[in-house]
Symmetry: C2
Subunit: 367 residues, 2 copies
């Protein structure tokens, strides 16, 4: 982190810092890697949720994106994106919004089980592209890979409908998040997914297949037979990805700056203004099985090499475990700057980015 | 829950439902109980964060409130509140906002360790009331009860300062949240706190003492020697408070309505549009030690007696464990309505309340 005192001097409450150079480098690497592997890139914009950051992809030629809600699709459609996949089981209650969007852009929706297609068929009144979601082992949403008959009958219903067009399969291997510093296992997982999903190509006439979560995209070079990738978190990364081994610390492009409000050297702890409503309650476990809600990166502009992390988080308080020495050196009114555990959730909670160049980048808030 | 089809029919994405009658009853009980126990009531407004709900307290004569940030104090000051305690270790970086607020209202700040007072003394330029925070065992922020010398010297610095006035002690027994259906233990805890805090009255000339978290306030009738209570969550309650035994299910005044988007009877699970960005990632453990991120209350207007809960939560997906029978009865497009685990965090994430009478109540968003 090349800290910027002028930026930090303006911060007096929890604030999201964005290293825009690192973020652009992360975007560049996604584009180059997808090109090298001959994969279409449809980045997931649920992580940054910002029209301006979206432009940084556009400048490198990206034209297709992924989002996780109709609201987010509307926002990016209003900001010039013409080809959007809503990678979430279609919400039939938003059918009016879906029809309206499909009038403006090339819209792709997801069918994740067979009952949804009957509902949607009768309500869509304009051309909409449909992907079928395959559950490759995360057990969240999607058809089972072996449910060939159900998939077949769903595709048939799509093909028989007036307005729907079948476009292929979508999978998200969320189970890749279970590995901690085991890049080989992530690679093995991706190879297994490739071969499993390729069986669909056999059964369904070379159908298009879109995959991708940040750990497999970052760690594997083998997407043999796959057509498209949809990394999201890779735009920023975070401490969870660092623990997985999907990024270096230096690649983490967002941090949360929090005022230090109380210091307890005798407890080897200090307290920051920065809690669950800023970080989210996502945590990882440390090597000693303690909960870590945020990893300390620096105090003001000074990088911290000591291990220090938020061990307890309530609505607005963060309690930080730190060495006695660090506690004795710091002062109330300092800014403690943390790597977020899960940047998607932390960014979602914060209203805007403060860039190192002194700029402010606003995000849409989806409510 | 006396469900209202007209209200539900308008909902097509995750929405926060407010039973305003129950909420008013919860407020009424706080006011009556405080009066009966001869305690001043200074309710914590961080839970509801709404000027309109604040008015419901005002109608019962409440004039003093608690908030958890300077931003929240500004919001409620702008909505007519004249006596506000910011029950959070004072953030010296917001000194300009603190001075400005103290010109408008009777403002109380918190000093939670001795280094903060030296910082604040030189920067406050208008009368500000100071409470000293005592850590009664939560080990979050505050002076240790036995740190009499540190407390003494801090009070001396307050008394010697030009603008600060010492007003008493504040404690928050967050450790009351550890008990599950053990009301007797919560009562024993409060009795112990009373006697510990009373020792301060001896040492510091009958100083004013303000206490209170929702479990002890709801379960104990013994606040012997205490002067003021500050319940927050009791305005709504939630599933965590129900597990503690601090409320009945019927007293929970907010719920989150989420569209059902995929149903997997064979897995005994269904998926809702409603994830970490709506509920927060707060969870409790079920009797079988499974994580519960949200307890199902009803499907549409029909109460559910089956045990069903969100067992997995990602950014926008909630995976609900439910009986096969329930999964077979429900349809994609239904609304699944949940008791939140921690209403403070869920409410913070949502932009407005939908009341049972068809009204919308907006909250301030603190960013």
């Amino acid at each position: 982190m090349s800290a910027n005192d002028a930026v930090l001097n303006k911060i007096n409450k929890p604030a999201l810092l964005l290293d825009e150079k690192q973020c652009k480098a992360n975007i560049y690497h996604q584009v180059v890697k997808a090109k090298r592997l001959n994969l279409a890139l449809r980045p997931h914009f649920k992580t940054h949720q910002s029209a301006r950051i979206g432009e940084w992809y556009k400048e490198l030629g990206v034209k297709k994106i992924t989002v996780s809600s109709v609201l987010m699709a509307e926002y990016f459609a209003n900001n010039g994106w013409k080809d959007i996949l809503i990678a979430f089981p279609v919400n039939i209650l938003e059918i009016d919004q879906i029809n309206a969007l499909a009038r403006k852009i090339k819209l792709h929706i997801l069918i994740s089980e067979e009952s949804a297609i009957d509902k949607i068929v009768t309500k869509v009144d304009i051309l909409v592209s449909v992907f079928i979601e395959i559950d490759t082992g995360q057990i969240r949403s999607g058809f089972k890979l072996l449910a060939i008959e159900k998939i077949k009958s769903t595709i048939q219903k799509i093909n028989n409908s007036k307005h729907l067009v079948f476009s292929g399969f979508v999978a998200h291997a969320g189970q890749s998040y279970q590995y901690k510093n085991e890049p080989e296992k992530v690679k093995v997982l991706q190879a297994k997914l490739n071969s499993e999903l390729l069986s669909l190509k056999g059964a369904f006439q070379e159908a298009f297949i879109s995959v991708g979560d940040t750990p497999t995209f970052s760690l594997s070079d083998n997407f043999s037979g796959m057509d498209e990738v949809r990394p999201g978190n890779a735009v920023f990364y975070d401490w969870m990805q660092y623990q997985i081994g999907a990024c270096d610390k230096e690649q983490i492009a967002v941090k949360l700056a929090c005022p230090v409000v109380a210091i307890y050297p005798e407890r080897e702890e200090f307290v920051v203004y920065g809690g669950a409503i800023h970080f989210s309650k996502e945590y990882v476990l440390t090597d000693y099985k303690q909960r870590n809600y945020g990893q300390l990166a620096s105090i003001n502009a000074i990088d911290i090499s000591d291990e220090a992390f938020i061990s307890n988080l309530t609505q607005e308080h963060g309690v930080v475990k730190a060495s006695k020495q660090l506690c004795q050196q710091m002062k109330v009114g300092d800014l403690a700057i943390f790597y977020p555990i899960h940047s998607c959730l932390t960014v979602d909670l914060m209203p805007k980015y403060h860039t190192w160049s002194g700029d402010e980048i606003h995000k849409f808030r989806f409510f």
